[in-house]
Amino acid sequence: MNPYLPYPARIDDIVIETEDGNLKTFKLVLEDDADRAGWHHVPGQFAMLSIAGKGEIPIGIASSPTEKGHLLFTVNRAGVVTTALHKMNVGDPIGVRGPLGNGFPVDSELKGKNIVIIAGGFAFTTLRSTLIYMLEHRADYGNITVVYGARTPGMLLYKEELKQWQERDDLDVHITVDREAPGWKGLVGFVPTIAGQVKPSPENAAALICGPPIMIKFTMPPLEEVGWTDDQVYLSLENRMKCGLGVCGHCNVGPVYVCKDGPVFTRSQVQKLPVEF
C-alpha cells in the first residue's frame, strides 16, 4: 500500500463553529466502501486533508472512532490549503490520508483512571474525539472532568454538544470565557485560573491538555500545587508536517518526530526535548 496516496472522500456537511467564521467543522465521507471499512483511528490521531492542486495539511480528527461512517475535522483558516478548504461546499471532493500519529492511550494507560481534560480555543478538536469515545465506554474510566475555555462565548466549539455534556451527571464540565460577555452566564476567567479553582485530584488520574503553549505553561503550576506530576499529563504537540510518516524531516523535535512518535506525548517526555515546537 502506498502511504502517500489519499483516499477519495467527499464533503458531506459543513458547520461554521465560531462567530468569526474562521473555524468550520467538515464532515467527510470516504467514497470507497473498502476505505471506509478499513479506517480505524484512535482519539488524538490526525489525518492529512488533500485538495487537488493546493496541497495537504495535517488536521486532528475531531470525530470519535465510535462515530461510524464519517470523519469530522474542525479546521482553522490560516494557510493556502485551509483557505481553499474553507471555500469548498458540501459535495465537493477531497482527499484524506491517514490516520497518522499515535493518539491518546485511551485503551491502555488511561483505562480505569480519573480523566481531566483541559482545553483552550480550537485545540479542543481531538479532545472532543477522546471525550465522546470515553462517554461511549463510560465504565472504563473513573470521574471525567472537563475544563474548556475560549476568548468569547462565540468562539467556543461544538456549542450544542457542550450544552448536552453540561447536563450529564456522569461528567463534570466547566466552560469558561476570557472576559465577561453579554448574555454569558457561565464561568469567566482564563483556563489556567479555572483549572486552579477546580483543583482536580491527581489520585489515579491523568490530564489531557491541549491549547496554546502559553495556556499550557500557566496551567501546570496550579496542577503541580495539588500534586500532579509530569508523567500524568498528556500533551499534543504541533509542528509543520509534510509526509506524516516520520520521513520528510520537517516536524522533528530533537530525535522525535511529532507526526510519527506523537503528536501525543507525556509532559515528562516533552521536558527531555529541545523546545523546538
Binding site: 496516496l5 487537488a52 492542486g53 461546499n89 482527499g95 520537517h250 523535535v253 530533537g254 527531555k272
Partner: protein
C-alpha cells in the same frame, strides 16, 4: 579480472539491459553523475563527484501521483500513480562512502514505496579508493574506502585492468556476463590486498569514531557553547544539504498546469527558515543557530539514537563546497569534547 577493454565491453553489453550512469566531467570540468554511452568508462579520478548519489533513489523531483487539476470536479481525486521507469539503471564508479549512504537512507525510507522501488531498480558498481582526498573522513563515521555496504559489485582499479568482486547475488549474476573475465593472478590478488590494507590509513587524519556520540547526553550536546560561533558564519544556504548524500528531507507540493496536476516531492533543507514555519507565523527554529544545530544534531545524534549509525558517510562534499567553511569534522571534534 577484466582488462580495460574487457570492462568497457562488459558495460557495452549491459547497456542493452540498463541505462548506465557514472561520474563524468562536464564542460566546466565538474565531475557529476551523467549517462555513459557505448561502453564509456566513468571518470576515476580520486574523490567523489560533485552531486549526491541520492538523485538515483530520491530524485529531484519525484512525482508521487498525478491528478486532474480541477479542485471542484468529481474526478479531481481520481489519482494516477506515475508511470514506472521501465529500464533498470546501473551506476558505475560509485565510491564506497556513497554506496553506504544509500543503505543509511534506506533506514528512514524503509516503508517508502518510491525509494524502495528505485533501490530495486538501481545496481551499484563500486570503485574502491586507493587514497583518501584531503576532505575524506569515511573511517570516522563507520565506513571504509574499500567498504562494500550498499554495493552490488566492488571494483579495484589496477595498472592494466580491474578486479571485480561481487557483493550481492544480482552483482554476481551480472559478473557472469563479463565474457572476457579471467581469474585474477596471484600478483593481482596481492595488489588488491595492498589497496585494502593501505587505503584506510591514507586518510588525512585519524580520529576516535564519532559513533561514541550516541553515549553522550543529548541536551548537553544541544546546549554546547560552540553552536553560536558556528552559526555566525553560516549563510543558511542549502549547499551542504543538497550535496550531502545522507540528507534526505523533502517537501511535498502540488503543481498544476492547464488542467493537469501532480503532487511532487523535492529536496528541502533544514537550513531554510521556511522548513519549520507554522501557518500561524510561529517558527520553532526561526533562529539561524537552531537550524545549524539541528542539521548537525540530526546527523550525529538524533539519527544514531533512532537507527544506530551516524547519518554521515564522510564523503567530504559539505567540507569541500561550503562557501563559508563550516566543517563537520570540526563539529564532530567539538561535540566529542563536550
Amino acid at each position: 579480472m577484466l582488462p580495460r577493454a574487457g570492462f568497457q565491453q562488459w558495460l557495452q553489453e549491459l547497456s542493452g539491459q540498463f541505462e548506465i550512469f557514472g561520474p563524468k566531467k562536464n564542460e566546466k570540468a565538474i565531475v557529476s553523475w551523467q549517462r555513459l554511452e557505448g561502453g564509456e568508462l566513468p571518470d576515476m579520478a580520486p574523490g567523489v563527484p560533485k552531486g549526491s548519489i541520492k538523485t538515483f533513489f530520491f530524485p529531484q523531483p519525484e512525482t508521487l501521483f498525478e491528478f486532474t487539476a480541477r479542485p471542484k470536479q468529481d474526478d479531481s481525486f481520481r489519482l494516477r500513480e506515475p508511470e514506472k521507469r521501465q529500464k533498470p539503471r546501473l551506476v558505475v564508479g560509485v565510491r564506497p562512502c556513497d554506496a553506504r549512504s544509500v543503505l543509511l537512507n534506506s533506514m528512514p525510507y524503509k516503508e517508502d514505496p518510491y525509494f524502495q522501488q528505485n533501490r530495486q531498480n538501481v545496481i551499484l558498481v563500486g570503485l574502491a579508493c586507493r587514497n583518501g582526498c584531503s576532505t575524506c573522513f569515511c573511517t570516522w563515521t563507520g565506513g571504509s574506502p574499500v567498504g562494500t555496504e550498499g554495493l552490488d559489485i566492488l571494483v579495484f582499479e589496477l595498472e592494466d585492468g580491474f578486479v571485480l568482486e561481487p557483493v550481492t547475488e544480482r552483482g554476481e549474476s551480472l559478473l557472469q556476463k563479463a565474457s572476457s573475465a579471467r581469474d585474477a593472478t596471484e600478483a593481482e590478488r596481492q595488489a588488491v590486498q595492498e589497496i585494502r590494507d593501505n587505503a584506510p590509513t591514507s586518510l588525512p587524519e585519524a580520529m576516535e569514531p564519532a559513533s561514541q556520540l550516541v553515549q553522550k547526553d543529548l541536551m548537553a550536546l544541544y546546549n554546547a557553547p560552540f553552536w553560536q560561533q558556528l552559526s555566525d558564519s553560516c549563510i543558511n544556504c542549502g549547499t551542504c544539504t543538497f550535496l550531502c548524500p545522507t540528507c534526505y528531507c523533502f517537501d511535498i507540493q502540488d503543481e498544476t498546469l492547464r488542467g493537469k496536476g501532480r503532487r511532487i516531492r523535492y529536496w528541502d533543507s533544514c537550513m531554510f527558515p521556511l522548513f519549520t514555519l507554522h501557518a500561524s507565523g510561529h517558527n520553532p527554529r526561526g533562529e539561524k543557530v537552531k537550524r545549524v544545530r539541528n542539521r548537525f544534531m540530526h546527523k550525529l545524534k538524533y539519527f544514531p539514537e533512532r537507527f544506530g549509525p551516524l547519518s554521515c558517510v564522510g564523503c567530504g562534499r559539505c567540507v569541500r563546497d561550503c562557501p563559508v567553511n563550516i566543517d563537520i569534522r570540526q563539529v564532530m571534534k567539538e561535540l566529542l569534547a563536550v
